[in-house]
Symmetry: D2
Subunit: 310 residues, 4 copies
């Protein structure tokens, strides 16, 4: 089995991948990619069997590159999710002290999460964007000959270790509870069976072009007693104010209530892109409203059959 | 075939029955009953094959006796509906003039519909309730020996003719457009097939005991694009403020959208009593909202199947 | 003070009136009327100061005559409600035994509530409709010279006493918990102040002519957290399927949430006929949803003012 | 008047600012800032009178930095919006040809919008993130002595001109209709008056912690006939799955329907942060549903007053 992930080695994404026992098996191969697009393209091309990418951060919100890459192109499905607590360190080559730091390199999302610490401790430091937090650390590593335009990197602790950097400060995130959610993605076919603690992900495209129609979509869930756990609007690219909705719900496509809601959405939406059902990382069982258990649906179906052919 | 109806001969109900070609066939027998309960009891007991009873009047509203008799007891289903324009006459034995009339006999519903005319033309006349409008006419007929406590009857034109009365005034209803809707009822089994212009009737019992829960029931229809054509609340008899809802909708139980709505109601209601699907008397085709045609449901079901077993 | 009521003396309506202390005051006059229409007409004409009429029965449902009389004509408002347990007796002149009874007189609503007892104990007895239960008793009283077409009356215990009848059977109602709700009605002006345990009554006329629009009306209540305690559809008389809705809600017109809901209904309805706010007979305090107390509305209004003129 | 904007000179944001006639007045000063945070901090500190920042792109979606900066900190309000068509060029110092380009510098949002062109025409080129598109161009300008790690920049045409670069390719955006929406922000007090073609912006925080509660919030708009034109969920930072909603609606805070909806939201939300009402850039008049004009509200209020004090 080959796994693509948003690399290089040392990213939070690699940590997410390593949470999967199957990815640590002796015969498992982990292939770093420079971007979400690249990792998912490798999956679509059949070069790898699965890919791990970030989808949502508790501080920064949805990861647009992932949401958009899943919403378009050849179908892919989410088959698992992993949560990784996000801890940032400020790291630099040996000999550099905090007082020496005039510029800091990191990914823009990470920079957004350490702004508070930076404005207090390094208010004069310039910000230099990099492709990833691990790339920022790599740029300062001993293997690099050319000079980088920054003196220290904001990155994960593991990235500092990998690249032989020393820690100038630890746990510098403004929000200590920050968590990023990653998804394990594969090509369609044979997703995980229901566990009773599942989520499903989908993208809904409306016929109407303004978000007012969202109310009608949410009612398709509400009338079947289904809770949403994430809702992101994303532009469709067709013009200002044209949005689709990326949604996570509680429940599995094999659950009766989820199936009926999906059919209802399919009937009223311009398009529904189903992106998979998978066990929740937190193992929280779904709260199932009265009258929406599978047995309720089955009994109702038997009853309807008896009405139609008495 | 034997047909029970709310008699005696000469009632508007008999007129409704005679709208059915099958009830005028040579071998058809029409059996008058003194009450809705009696007619439906004869049907339940197998003494007749069908029954015609009034269910709704455009001026007076729902006919409680019929609504309640259908909602309880052994199951019966509506298999047809008939509309009868309601025209009232004031009739009396030969020789009686308008000036002679001191008391008027009729059914309380009819009295309610001629109050305006009476208050203008016969403001001093007393009202004497009778079991039906036809019974009021019969009480003045030549066949009656004992004295009746009224001088004239408010009844259908045909009842005046049947009982040999003369007309003191015609078309005396306050609402010239008054119409009564009658239903043809049979025992369950083999109801009429969908025609594209159908209605279905049902009674919904809530778990919750206040009408606030009605909103949730109406949403089960709305989310499937189904229009209601009648809604009556009726007490369940379990105490003040405990109601069930007697409802007519556009569509047939064999329509996909109606089937799914019925299943949804069955899941969230304490009970759903289905009372049949039948062609509309006015032949108006159902307005079917976008995404709620049978083909939309079938395509959605195929799509869901492909998601579940890719 | 003069009080009209649905008479004659001995009706359940008189019992309801006597629950009001002010109606038993030495200078209070109680004026029986032969019909709901007549009692309310006397009130509209200024002949009496208030009127008591039945509005809802826990077994038989809404009282159409009252609902319709309040919904049309010069404005009247409900200023109080009274609950009366309904107990029926079978009464006859001295000397008549149960075996002698071949015909029973009573009001059609009462007859509907004793059908079970009658079918068991007097299955052969004919039914003779009368204008009221008290009128049935009166017809058998010693004061009556002419012969009545029935041998026994179904009426309230007090009516049997008033008219000198003996009891053949007591408590013969099929539903022992039957209760009728009566309203005290007056001309507009100076209704009762809020008590925290109030109801309000209104009639809503839709622009749209089918009950599907009901969902939109109920949402006007739901979005302000208001519970309904009664909903009746009544034909407007404009044709089959044209209904208005007679509604009771929890709360008082002076409550902020009720006021805003009424304004919302006024904006979206063809007409709203407000029929008064009054203390609940059962003294149950309204359940007020989070965010819908008067103080919530007042704080929101202050906040809005600060947004508009910062 | 001093205006902060997301600089440096040559950004699309500067183009948006220059759409405002008042910003081109002789005494107007335009102050570039390196980040959205910095521009808004200068406004909050009173160093400038207004600020222009991007809020939404038709391809990339909401601008998180702006949404988050407006949602927290001292109150600011939007007083205007501007739409700028987004056109990208590939620019390089004189002498560089397309074949020479091995690395391309630009802002990550711009990179996302030219991915298609790049994968076709420069599939081997590396991506180097920069702080802005204008900064990418500036890095290649003649004024820069140190070597930049890229050979060409993706930027606005004006930025290429400003920094003396030559165009290797024009109009390279994957979506030719791409538009970015900018807002003019000021400190609270005296926002623009209603024009009949207005928008209002706000952030809603729920008591409940899952997006299911969104349905209830949308109903507060729907019941007053208000359309949404944008809805973004943003994490509150309190943990995975905790979101607030950044919303634009049609209408002005001084409109009655908007005022009542805002009060309703204030009552049911944990917090409502109002971010201003302002004329729409496209001058499209609001569609006002039946019964939701200001006059409808005023008449309803008068009517309610007459009910309360008849």
């Amino acid at each position: 089995m080959r796994y693509a992930y948003l690399g290089p080695a040392g990213t939070f994404t690699e940590q997410a991948l390593l949470q999967r026992p199957e990815a640590s098996a002796p015969d498992a191969e982990r292939v770093p990619h420079g971007s979400v697009d690249s990792a998912l393209a490798a999956l679509r091309a059949g070069e790898v069997d699965a890919a791990v990418v970030p989808i949502e951060n508790s501080v920064e919100g949805g990861v647009s590159a992932t949401l958009d890459a899943l919403a378009t192109g050849d179908p892919l499905v989410v088959v698992g999710e992993m949560l990784v607590p996000i801890t940032f360190v400020l790291a630099a080559p040996a000999g550099v002290t905090l007082a020496d730091v005039r510029a800091v390199g990191t990914h823009s999302h990470a920079w957004a999460q350490v702004r508070g610490w930076m404005s207090t401790r390094l208010p004069e430091a310039a910000y230099v964007p990099t492709l990833s937090t691990a790339a920022a650390a790599a740029g300062l590593g001993t293997a690099v000959e050319e000079q980088t335009p920054y003196d220290a990197a904001v990155c994960a602790p593991v990235a500092a270790t990998v690249h032989g950097l020393e820690l100038l400060a630890s746990d510098i995130g403004d929000n200590r509870a920050a968590v990023t959610r990653f998804v394990l993605v594969s090509r369609p076919g044979g997703g995980p069976a229901p566990t009773g603690a599942d989520k499903s992900t989908m993208v809904l495209y409306q016929h109407e072009d303004h978000p007012g129609g969202l109310l009608g979509l949410l009612e398709q869930f509400a009338v079947r007693g289904i809770n949403l756990t994430r809702l992101e609007s994303r532009p469709t690219g067709e013009g200002m104010g044209r949005y689709c909705f990326s949604i996570d719900i509680e429940g599995h496509v094999d659950d009766e209530r989820v199936g009926e809601a999906l059919m209802g959405l399919r009937r009223v939406c311009a398009d529904v892109r189903f992106l998979g059902s998978y066990p929740r990382a937190d193992r929280l069982a779904a709260t199932v409203a009265a009258g929406t258990q599978d047995t309720d649906f089955q009994q109702a179906r038997s009853w309807l059959r008896s009405l139609r052919t008495p």
